[in-house]
Symmetry: C2
Subunit: 310 residues, 2 copies
């Protein structure tokens, strides 16, 4: 049995993805933001997941998560089908369109935390309705760090619920287009400054293959994405990044400007594996040795060998 007091708690979507990729179509792939984040965090810290699945969610998927070290006690099984997402990627994998979204059991999901999870020190609110994110916040007791993701759909459709949620979190992790839409400002550093005023003192702006920027009281920090020769499936990379980041913070125990900067690299390293195969396949097969090696590659990638003096 895993510890009942988890170090990272991830709340969000668990889904079946149907992925139309240039190299083939993949049906019923285990996906969902919370799934990717939890698997990723689990490499670094004890991790629990809260979400909902339907009758069609095979026990083998739950077993995969548990084998990876994810506590699945918080996965609710509801009557009906699991959330389904179908997307088609462009030939260069740089863009995608959503072809189908079937919420199914996710439509009536209201996250209810097992008592054992309520003191989770590191809480990651995946991209769900901001009112549901707030419902989770009503249930937790003094987490050390609350991070959340959101998306354009909620930014345009649920601005008040989103505003209320933003006031209660420490770290917002969104992509560049979302940062622009949320702030109404194109320039990313200025957009981040605007978002700080809405609540979160720390903002991470993800830019896909172009890396991620952190804006906090310490200034600005950048982590590149690893330049890979073979990218198979970008699905879930951003969620994997967020999960790895939270996992490192939980492992470290304290959130400092320094630990947050290191955490960005751990997130980026895990995300770099995510994209190497379809769905969660690469992550589920990953070893600590693989991760340690990629982290060293990341250090080399930006190591300018000392001070830059003139």
């Amino acid at each position: 049995m895993q510890s009942t007091r988890s170090s990272v708690l991830v709340v969000g979507s668990i889904a079946f993805d149907n992925l139309e990729m240039p190299h083939g179509t993949y049906e019923n792939v285990l996906g969902g933001a919370a799934t990717y984040s939890a698997i990723s965090a689990s490499f670094l810290a004890p991790t629990s997941i809260v979400g909902v699945v339907g009758n069609d969610f095979a026990d083998s998927h739950l077993q995969s998560l548990r084998t990876r070290g994810v506590d699945t006690m918080g996965i609710e099984r509801a009557s009906g089908k699991t959330f389904v997402w179908r997307g088609r990627y462009s030939d260069d994998l740089m863009s995608r369109v959503t072809l189908q979204t079937e919420l199914n059991v996710f439509a009536n999901f209201s996250p209810k935390l097992p008592d054992a999870y309520k003191k989770a020190p590191f809480l990651l609110l995946g991209n769900i309705h901001p009112a549901l994110q707030s419902i989770v916040l009503d249930q937790v007791t003094g987490p050390k760090l609350i991070a959340a993701d959101t998306m354009n759909f909620w930014i345009s459709g649920e601005p008040r619920a989103l505003d209320a949620m933003l006031k209660r979190i420490d770290l917002l992790i969104i992509n560049d287009e979302e940062a622009r839409e949320l702030s109404g400002i194109h320039n990313i550093p200025k957009a981040a400054a605007d978002i700080h005023k809405r609540g979160p003192k720390r903002v991470i702006v993800k830019r896909g293959e172009h890396g991620a920027l952190l804006f906090d009281s310490h200034g600005v920090f950048f982590t590149p994405a690893y330049p890979l020769e073979d990218v198979r499936d970008p699905t879930g990379a951003g969620d994997t990044f967020a999960g790895g980041l939270m996992g490192y913070l939980a492992r470290n125990g304290e959130v400092t400007p320094q630990s947050l900067r290191k955490a960005m690299f751990f997130g980026a390293a895990l995300a770099s594996f995510c994209v190497e195969d379809v769905g969660t396949k690469r992550l589920l097969g990953l070893t600590q040795v693989d991760l340690a090696k990629r982290l060293r590659q990341f250090v080399d990638l930006v190591d300018h060998g000392g001070p830059l003096d003139i």
Copy 2:
């Protein structure tokens, strides 16, 4: 008088740019790739420039370059008008269209190096016809490093002249779209590997606001662009990057994997100033103190505070 044996020699275009920006239209702005590169390199090493200008090129422009420390002895004055480029930027400055290109005196330009320049140890061939780049190579004696830029126009239009030039250089500095067109490969690390086979053992792929990647025998290295709150004019940023990189290498004296990595950051730091005002204005007003400060900001931007161990 400056030393007659310059440390960096830049050969390429000197132009008047007409820039239609969202914040105004700017006519007859001193520009051209060689201009930006030479000004940038001059912060770090003695620099000379070879190019052609017309009767309309005011002595005050030459004086600005000389004040900056650029040796202008190699600027040929021909009868006619200076090269003119007119471009219009999108509102977000992320894209631009060329509205007009008047080659003028540049149409008949064949670079002729003053004897004093022929032993220049660091040679930067700006984006001109690859046959002209080769003509420059015929004139130099054993440079320590030959770097060159090119563009889609030559990649599609002059493939044989380009191939011949590529075999003779040490470092190709191009943007991501050019790397893709040259190699026929979308993936950047794979495109760089293909370009290595064509000659240059080192390839730098510039990605504008997303930074630059170096591929050499030591592996892959990444430098971000600095996340600025105010970007006024991206014109010349890539050339400024290349000039700063060569300037640092010349200042350092030796090309090693380590010096090349540091040079990437010097190039990026200088490029980050270039975009802060229209044309060369910010660069011409820059001090060594400004540059030293920006370099420290760059160190902070990627400083993950030690090993990334798990």
